[in-house]
Amino acid sequence: MGTEKKEVLVSIRDLEIKFDEYVAVSNVNFDIYKGETFSLVGESGSGKTTIGRALMRIHETSKGDIFFKGKKINQKVGARLHKELIKKMQMIFQDPAASLNERATIDYIVSEGLRNFRLYKNETERQQKVREALLSVGLLPEHLTRYPHEFSGGQRQRIGIARAMVMEPEFIVADEPISALDVSIRAQVLNLLKKLQQEKELTYLFIAHDLSVVRFISDRIAVIHKGKIVELAEAEELFLNPLHPYTKSLLSAIPIPDPRLEKNKKLVVYTGEEHDYSEDLPKWKEIKAGHFVWANDAEEKRYRMQMKIG
């Protein structure tokens, strides 16, 4: 990518999300550039879904800002901006078994968003849009009268993708879109998402729980641990120069496709006791252009040294 000015589509600043008194997510800072795939990686329960849903305005935030195209969206928005945001931001859900309305036909499910805002001139145009959306995810127009339970997991996930695509969005939050699927069809859905991204110039926030999935599809990767983003860098940079001990432990957990190497591999275990944050408090710091880490002053010094040698 390099130095050319990139357009910021989504911007999150000092975000905090609480469930009653429990702080699920805090100190979240990142930008998502137009056209990129930005991945958010962390173990289950770390707050990935919470961030994704806050972006979609499902969860309220307790602190900080979320901007979409420069407009603040984590507050009450007017009807006009609401409509614009619904059209431009869409979400693909983790569980294809739970994310479709079982009592509605595929036709209803895929046209739901179109109907809500009457995004068509007449019935013919609506049908046309729905057909195109289905075809674009490899399903058939004759599926329109069917119900969700008649489809396989992979097909259901593609219905969910069609439902988002029919809105012609610019930005998509894909919340672990393949982790609930059979291993045999994961690549199919991943390739579909890639293909759609190229065709429609989409921007993705791709959520995953392990690094191996995101390495080859992401432009940049953020690693989240217990509600805090601990490291953020371009994909290759993160794999080559991981700084934060938690990132290192995630990397060491990726299986190596070589039994000899895999056998002698040393697993790095992260406990959180690596840090001494008793006096020297951590902050969000840019160690190198575009490479951020959650660290205190002492750690920052060490990381900078590491970078120079490494």
């Binding site: 619904i86 859900f93 739970a98 994310s99 309305n101 209803y108 809500n116 058939l140 969910g160 809105m167």
Partner: protein, 305 residues
């Protein structure tokens, strides 16, 4: 590699997506599932007959509790069971058969009207109640206060206020009767409200009322059916109990409850007078309950196929 025993096949991606199964229809599956059980079908037929007879027979007999034409003819009193008087006659010379059907008609009307009103209001209020945290705060207090007073007591007090009569009774039973249904629906809505498919609808900008009608209520059809199948017999019992105690319907309206009360006096000499309304009541409530339960099960798609 060349081997004439093998040949390449082309995979048609389209074929892989095709669904062989015949197209699914919800209501067809419901009716198939419902009619599968022979005993329920028999009860349903029985219920249809009871309803028809209860609606038509009182018109033909012209029975009127305010008017006993045979009251001065002692030879008409306490007649035994015969073809002309299938249940015999009572102490004022009325054919018990006529009295039972007139009372059954009242009971069925009360049961259906009250269940209908209470369920409609309860479902609509409960659906909105379960969705809105602001409404929940107020409604839960209202519910706690009203549900701490026994229902039968509320109805009694209301009846004393409105006066006795058929529509007064309906009003008294409906004024607070929908609350328990609403509370039940509220809890159900809260359980399924945050499921992913509802979040998906929110992300598509679906307004709350459509969310309730298209995403939530269809899922609750089966529990609503269960509720109705309990509500009708319960309403009938309330009416019978109140009339039995002499506070429900006024004497101008025929009622099984009052019959049971009166005929219980003759239980030693003429027990069939007592058993006629009691058994009819039991048959009606049990049939309605079983039919409702089967319908509730059949409307749950998990039982289909």
């Amino acid at each position: 590699m060349q081997d004439s025993r093998f040949e390449f096949v082309t995979v048609d991606a389209r074929v892989a997506e095709e669904i062989e199964a015949p197209s699914y229809s919800y209501w067809q599956s419901v009716s198939k599932q419902f009619f599968k059980k022979k005993s329920t079908v028999i009860l349903l037929l029985l219920m249809v007959v009871i309803i028809l007879v209860a609606l038509i027979q009182p018109e033909l007999s012209g029975y009127d509790p305010m008017n006993s034409p045979n009251i001065n003819r002692p030879e008409m009193r306490f007649r035994g069971i015969s073809l002309q008087y299938p249940y015999g006659t009572d102490g004022v010379g009325n054919s018990v058969w006529d009295v039972v059907w007139a009372g059954t008609r009242t009971s069925l009307l009360v049961g259906f009207i009250v269940a209908c009103i209470n369920t409609s209001i309860g479902v609509v209020v409960g659906a909105v109640w379960g969705f809105s945290k602001a409404i929940d705060k107020v409604m839960i207090e209202v519910f706690n206060i009203i549900s701490s007073v026994p229902y039968i007591l509320i109805v009694t007090v209301l009846l004393y206020t409105f006066g006795r009569g058929f529509w007064q009774l309906i009003l008294a039973m409906c004024l607070t009767g929908w609350l328990s249904t609403a509370y039940f629906i509220r809890t159900q809505v809260m359980i399924i409200r945050d499921r992913e498919y509802n979040l998906a609808s929110s992300c598509l900008g679906t307004p709350m009322l459509r969310l309730v009608s298209r995403n939530i209520l269809p899922y609750l059809l089966s529990v609503i059916m269960t509720n109705v199948s309990l509500e009708i017999p319960a309403a009938i019992s309330t009416e019978v109990t109140l009339s039995f105690l002499g506070i429900g319907l006024n004497v101008a309206v025929p009622s099984l409850g009052r019959m049971i009360n009166q005929y219980a006096n003759y239980f030693n000499g003429y027990p069939h007078l007592f058993w006629a309304p009691v058994l009819t009541l039991a048959l009606v409530t049990i049939s309605l309950y079983v039919i409702g339960q089967t319908l509730a099960d059949a409307s749950d798609p998990r039982t289909h196929r």
